[in-house]
């Protein structure tokens, strides 16, 4: 089996279309640009105030005033623009960002997402997560099928505090792609040699499977 994170990032890259405005969350989404085809130029928006994030800088190219939302140094494309945080989130809430790709702790069959807080732990950082899942036109969740403790992350109902209800359009794990159809997540594609039964075993609740996979 291939590295789960790479399987997920490669498949997520295939969801993006040339010219789209894309916001990438931390973790697996940051691997996506490496897997975009040369004919799929997208424009990366980072909520700290830049449209047109370029590749990571090489040594000597680092600019202390140029970071992404994960606070890593980045470069800017020739087409880049800078703006303040209110405008950046107006872009997000206003539906001007085509796609948000981000991780999650849990996604329910209804497309509810929990990705900012774990009960009983610190719930003191939400950042832009709620704005992105509510505002982006398409929300793609990239996450491993199971948590580090072996629990399914696609669940019948989220037990963790919600980030937003009915917000997720696509879920990509190392085993499968799920799409929200008529308000419910449906398994639509198997990845990296996984079977429907494999996916069923690592999914909470009753799995809905697309007709084409049966």
């Amino acid at each position: 089996m291939a590295d789960a994170r790479l399987v997920i990032a490669r498949r997520a890259a295939a969801e993006l279309r040339a010219g789209e405005i894309v916001n990438l969350g931390i973790g697996i989404p940051t691997l996506i640009p490496d897997h975009l085809g040369t004919d799929t130029e997208v424009f990366l928006h980072s909520e700290n105030g830049i449209l047109g994030v370029g590749p990571r800088p090489v040594d000597g190219e680092i600019d202390a005033d140029l970071i992404d939302a994960a606070k890593r140094p980045v470069t800017a494309l020739a087409s880049a623009s800078y703006f303040d945080s209110a405008q950046s989130f107006a872009m997000i809430r206003g539906g001007h960002v085509d796609v948000a790709v981000l991780g999650a702790l849990q996604v329910s069959h209804a497309g509810d997402i929990a990705n900012w807080a774990v009960p009983g732990r610190d719930v003191l950082g939400v950042g832009g997560a709620m704005d992105l899942v509510v505002g982006a036109r398409r929300v793609i969740v990239t996450m491993t099928a199971l948590s580090s403790s072996g629990e399914p992350k696609v669940v019948a109902r989220c037990s963790y505090p919600l980030t937003a209800a009915a917000a997720v359009d696509v879920v990509i794990t190392e085993q499968a792609v799920f799409r929200r159809r008529e308000g419910r997540l449906v398994l639509t594609e198997l990845l990296d040699g996984a079977s429907v039964d494999d996916v069923r075993r690592s999914t909470g609740g009753e799995l809905a499977v697309a007709l084409e996979l049966l």
């Binding site: 909520e47 140029l66 800017a76 209110a86 989130f89 505090p161 937003a164």
Partner: protein, 219 residues
């Protein structure tokens, strides 16, 4: 009134016990570090409410004030970037208001723009809407968010002219232009001070009417 160029000490004399301090920066990028260092080292103002996307980093920026026990309340979207701030909230040393980052930004914008608040779908139906008015508008549940204003805003700009027109650089802009609009006194720390007329008028992000005092960054 044109802005005045002042020393760090004079600037800090405007920060008083119990004040609400608006502070620019995303993490420490674009944060007014000379003002914050001086506030920690040379001012005694305490019982402060700080409004900033993050509460600095451990011992740095607002994190230095936190260590000194001078922060009473924090309003932020991401306390998590300073584990000491998280610990201070959990131990009850400070109280916290957590807002989604876009709501946080817009609330400050609204504060500076004379608005009474706004409805947003972000956070509606979640734990962060607890205690807030929620209503369905245009078929979506939305939450009423109130504006944020402060007594003093501390911002950082790459360049200022002698009147107080400010120009920011790259992603160091972030919350600074918003904070500059929403306080009774706005103090701008600037990387360079230039004569009036030498900033491109098209590239002035914060017109001088928002700025009261200018301090040139140390070093």
């Amino acid at each position: 009134m044109p802005a005045r160029v002042v020393s760090l000490d004079e600037a800090l004399s405007h920060v008083h016990d119990g004040d609400t301090i608006l502070c620019g920066g995303f993490g420490l990028v674009g944060a007014p570090m000379s003002l914050l260092d001086a506030l920690a080292e040379r001012s005694t103002a305490r019982d402060l409410t700080v409004v900033s996307n993050n509460i600095g980093e451990p011992g740095r920026g607002l994190g230095a004030l936190l260590r000194q026990g001078r922060i009473r309340h924090g309003i932020s979207s991401y306390f998590t970037s300073n584990p000491e701030a998280v610990a201070a909230v959990n131990s009850g040393t400070i109280t916290a208001t957590l807002l989604p980052q876009g709501t946080f930004a817009e609330a400050i914008r609204a504060g500076g723009a004379g608005l009474g608040g706004f409805y947003t779908p972000v956070g509606a139906g979640t734990a962060l809407a607890a205690g807030k008015e929620q209503r369905e508008l245009d078929g979506r549940l939305q939450v009423l968010e109130r504006p944020i204003r402060g007594d003093v805003a501390l911002v950082y700009a790459d360049r200022a002219d002698e009147l107080g027109n400010l120009s920011y650089r790259k992603t160091a802009r972030n919350f600074n232009p918003l904070m500059a609009t929403a306080a009774t006194i706005t103090i701008a720390e600037v990387g360079a001070l230039v004569p009036v007329g030498s900033l491109d008028a098209e590239a002035i992000h914060t017109p001088h009417l928002y700025v009261d005092l200018i301090v040139v960054r140390d070093g």
